[in-house]
């Protein structure tokens, strides 16, 4: 069986090799992320069956935990790794045709680093190491947002950078406090004796960590960077940001709350936070004229929904939350890619500029439609089982509070439907019936292939959700009973 | 059994036609007398019909002919459902509701026939006819519902029989108001003044009949005669307790008819919206009150 550390090493190593390849050929460099992530995908797929029976943990340099740094490839980690590899892989294909600037190697290096960071975050078992990888992720995404080098890109990158810096500093303080109290940085170790300490002195680091990671995870008051960053980044990067970066931030929060602190009592707070985030995201998106901003706001909403689902705290709740997370990753990445190419063609991010796209770019608009329906949660697409599971989990609590929250969520769903259907109508039905300028210009294959792989996944998982429910359940159980997690690492 | 039914049917149709024409003639005679004129002979409508059948006529097409036949058939069929004295050939199909529905075939047929005439006078007349029908249906429905709820049946024969046991409907307080309401709307049903706005000769040149000539006019006259008979005998059956034998029944409807002749002779004409406003105000209020009373006092049967 392969070593999960390869998942980190391959992209990291290749990232630094990219400049060297330039000396060989300029053509080749764009293919490096492709191969790296293909490898990652294969590795994570091969690891996947082993993980299901027993989490793998690798200790770097032979030092056993709690002393050394260790990687823990649990079901959750592998799930995320797989997701990251998959989305990264497909987006790297998309980038072939999409990234046309002079010095592409910048893009590819940063891209690989971003994914390295993400993978590292989800695989590491050490809190400080997590922070390091998190920083890699953040910094590379700051610079990728500004990749085009135009004014809005740089401006939003700076905004992102400032908020991210505040967040990271909070995280660092939190970790420092934890280290001061427990004298260890290994998560399992901290987790094992978290309850032995006076509560308030543990609460402060918890709060700091939640806030810090919350910035990246775009929870309500901390998500101000997101619309600007997503709308001004290259579409491929927007897809990665809202498909992966946010989810990784969320992963960090979940890991901290469930595994590290076992803080089931703060979930009530997160519950409301999630619903508020959802409502605000959808309301902001409702009247948006700029397509990418609209998608960004809808990502905020989706994150809110996921947070809500995860903080129900029951097994089915977390299950549904993770499913929704997967579905959001796939659908939103698809939406950003499709929209990105339509923007590329129409030359404007304004929704009204998409009129008649259904005739011009039939395949891309079809894909966009599927993505939109899936986000709104219509069967037979992947969004529907997710929403279904979440509502099921919420209503199984048999609690009036949950019923009210469910109604709020559904209100948000209606709003979401409203603006997505508006865009679909604009694509297909607005504009004159057949103006002469409407000859088809099919998108290049390197755009259509990833897009349609996404479509395929969305439809297949939507029709046959059992494809992923198994791993989701094991990941949910991993989150819930932290005792096993600790036992696995500290025998 | 079937033989008797058929005989009854023929008897009723002939009798109704004769009585209807007699009423038409009578109306012209009495009107003349009220105007201090000598007036035509009572047989004048018959003479007109004979003449009209011997005249040439112009037709506008298939529907123009079909509509007339349709409407006349509708009015004739209603006769078979109305108890005339004790005679009621088709008592066991649907009762009052079917009568209600069949009574709308006649105006519908005329409307269709007049519609193909492609003459705006006709169309205006039809629009007025339908509007007036809509106007008087509101109180009429309330009245009929009151009666049906009071006797808790939809069969008109049963209503008549129950009146034989318990006296005329007029004697029940709860049916008094609806009866009055019916009297108030009966001119509208008959198309008499002050509701003679459907065929206002000076205004829209006899409305739906503007294009009729010869036999078409004759058939409409006959249909009008049947219509008079039907609506008056419906009132008689519902409120004046029907009758044991045809003669007695005839006297009753004669009495009711003559009352309206006086109204017809002295009143001017409503405009259509005035007519609707009137119909939807007093008769409807009375009928509504009657329905409320019936619901409060509960069924008597």
């Amino acid at each position: 069986m392969v070593n999960p550390i390869l998942l980190i090493v391959i992209p990291l190593g290749l990232a630094f090799v990219v400049p060297l390849f330039r000396f060989i050929s300029k053509k080749i460099e764009k293919f490096i992320p492709f191969f790296a992530l293909l490898a990652n995908l294969i590795i994570s797929l091969t690891l996947f069956p082993h993980v299901l029976e027993k989490p793998i943990h690798v200790s770097i340099g032979g030092f056993l935990p709690p002393l050394g740094i260790n990687l823990v490839a649990g079901p959750l980690g592998i799930l995320f790794a797989m997701l990251i590899a998959l989305v990264g892989f497909l987006v790297s294909i998309y980038a072939f045709a999409y990234i046309k600037e002079k010095d592409q190697e910048k893009y590819h290096i940063l891209y690989l680093l971003l994914l390295t960071g993400a993978t590292g975050v989800v695989l590491t078992g050490d809190i400080f190491n997590l922070f390091v990888f998190f920083e890699i992720l953040c910094i590379s995404s700051y610079s990728l947002v500004a990749y085009f080098g135009d004014k809005p890109g740089i401006e939003s990158a700076v905004k992102y950078l400032i908020q991210g810096a505040v967040g990271s500093s909070l995280v660092l303080i939190g970790i420092g406090l934890l280290y001061g109290q427990f004298g260890t940085l290994n998560m399992a170790d901290i987790a094992s004796n978290i309850h032995s300490v006076h509560s308030i002195s543990v609460f402060i680091p918890l709060v700091l960590l939640i806030t810090g990671f919350g910035v990246e995870a775009a929870i309500f008051p901390l998500n101000a960077w997101l619309p600007d960053a997503h709308s001004s980044a290259p579409s491929s990067i927007s897809a990665i940001l809202s498909g992966i970066a946010i989810e990784v931030g969320l992963y960090a929060i979940v890991r901290v709350v469930f595994t590290l602190f076992g803080a089931s009592s703060i979930l009530t707070f997160l519950l409301f936070l999630g619903v508020i985030t959802l409502l605000i995201g959808e309301l902001c998106a409702f009247n948006q004229e700029n397509i990418k901003r609209m998608l960004a706001y809808s990502s905020i909403g989706q994150i809110g929904l996921i947070v809500f689902a995860l903080s129900i705290g029951s097994l089915s709740g977390i299950n549904g939350g993770l499913f929704q997370l997967v579905s959001h990753t796939l659908s939103k990445a698809l939406l950003f890619l499709a929209a990105g190419y339509m923007i590329f063609r129409s030359g404007s991010m304004n929704i009204s500029s998409f009129e008649g796209m259904g005739k011009k770019m039939p395949y891309t608009s079809f894909a966009f439609t599927i993505g939109a329906f899936s986000i709104v949660g219509l069967p037979p697409f992947i969004g529907f089982p997710g929403k279904f599971m979440i509502l099921k989990a919420a209503l199984f609590e048999q609690d009036i509070l949950f019923t009210i929250l469910v109604f709020l969520i559904l209100l948000a769903t209606i709003i979401e439907g409203a603006y997505f259907f508006r865009v679909v109508q604009t694509i297909y039905f607005k504009g004159e019936k057949s103006t002469p300028g409407q000859e088809r210009e099919i998108a290049p294959l390197s755009v259509l292939i990833p897009v349609f792989i996404f479509v395929g996944l969305i439809v297949v998982i939507g029709i046959y959700p059992k494809l992923i429910t198994e791993i989701l359940e094991s990941s949910a159980s991993e989150l819930l009973n932290r005792a096993d997690y600790i036992k696995n690492i500290l025998p | 059994m079937v033989m008797t039914t058929i005989l009854e049917i023929i008897f009723i149709i002939l009798l109704a036609g004769i009585i209807g024409l007699f009423f038409l003639g009578l109306s012209r005679k009495i009107m003349a007398r009220i105007h201090w004129r000598y007036g035509p002979p009572i047989t004048q409508p018959l003479i007109d019909i004979i003449k009209l059948f011997n005249q040439t006529s112009m037709s506008h097409g298939f529907l123009f002919n079909f509509g007339i036949i349709f409407s006349l058939a509708g009015s004739v069929v209603v006769l078979l459902f109305l108890p005339f004295g004790r005679i009621c050939p088709l008592s066991d199909s649907g009762g009052l509701l079917v009568i209600l529905y069949l009574m709308l075939i006649a105006p519908l047929g005329l409307a269709l026939s007049g519609g193909e005439a492609a003459n705006p006078y006709t169309s205006i007349g039809i629009s007025r006819k339908l509007l007036l029908a809509f106007g008087y249906e509101l109180p009429l429905l309330l009245i009929l519902l009151t009666v049906m709820t009071h006797y808790n049946t939809i069969s008109i024969v049963e209503i008549v029989n129950k009146q034989f046991q318990a006296g005329w409907s007029f004697q029940h307080l709860s049916l008094l108001l609806p009866g009055i309401a019916y009297i108030l709307i009966l001119p509208a049903i008959l198309g008499f003044r002050p509701f003679e706005l459907i065929q206002a000769p000076q205004e829209i040149s006899s409305g739906p009949m503007a294009e009729y000539s010869g036999k078409f006019l004759a058939l409409t006259t006959i249909q009008h005669a049947f219509n008079i008979f039907i609506s008056i005998s419906l009132f008689t059956n519902l409120f004046l307790g029907g009758a044991a034998n045809p003669g007695y029944f005839f006297l009753k409807i004669l009495a009711v008819f003559v009352i309206f002749l006086f109204a017809n002779a002295v009143f001017p004409r409503f405009r259509i919206e005035q007519a609707i406003k009137y119909l939807w105000r007093w008769p409807s209020i009375l009928a509504f009150a009657g329905l409320i009373i019936v619901l409060i006092t509960g069924k008597n049967f």
Partner: protein, 192 residues
């Protein structure tokens, strides 16, 4: 007056019907119409003879040309006459329809109405009183009895003649000819 003679009714119902239900076209051509209201109302009550005014030519079989006929009204008279169902009877009321009367030298009054539509009877006088109307009606009865009130047949037979006269004075008529029967110019003299 044989209105109540049942035998005649059975023998020729059509003719009797035409006699005793004359529906007059309620059509005012000229001043003569002033005599119609008294004749149909209380004082002289035309309805007792079965004469009542009706609204449209379709329902009428008696056409009273009441008063002078100007060129303008002639068009409407012809149109109304042609729209009446047969059998139909025309009565010129007053001297103007007969020969122009006091308008004998007017440039736009029709002097000889019977050149344009057949006229079954004339009521002379200016104005004839309502009694005269009833006299005309009774005469019309006798004509109907004898079968001499056949103006509509004349019109049918000599349609081309009438049409020519009409078009001579009115110019091209916008409605198509009523009868397509084509009679040569000599024949009508013999018929008429």
């Amino acid at each position: 007056m044989d209105r109540n003679n049942l035998g005649k009714w059975l023998k020729s119902p059509g003719k009797m019907g035409q006699k005793y239900s004359l529906h007059a076209l309620y059509f005012c051509t000229g001043c003569g119409i002033i005599e119609i209201p008294p004749s149909i109302t209380t004082r002289w009550d035309a309805e007792r003879f079965g004469v009542i005014p009706v609204a449209t030519p379709r329902q009428a079989n008696l056409f009273l040309i009441t008063g002078y006929v100007s060129v303008k009204t002639l068009r409407y008279i012809i149109r109304s006459y042609e729209q009446m169902p047969e059998p139909k009877f025309t009565v010129g009321f007053g001297s103007c329809p007969i020969n122009g009367g006091m308008y004998w030298d007017s440039y736009n009054t029709i002097k000889h109405l019977d050149k344009y539509i057949p006229v079954d009877g004339w009521i002379a006088g200016c104005m004839p009183r309502p009694e005269a109307v009833f006299v005309a009606v009774t005469h019309l009865w006798t004509l109907i009895d004898k079968g001499m009130a056949d103006g509509y047949n004349k019109y049918r037979a000599n349609y081309q003649y009438y049409r020519e006269n009409q078009e001579k004075i009115l110019g091209k008529l916008e409605w198509p000819p009523l009868f397509s029967k084509n009679i040569k110019h000599e024949e009508y003299r013999t018929i008429a």
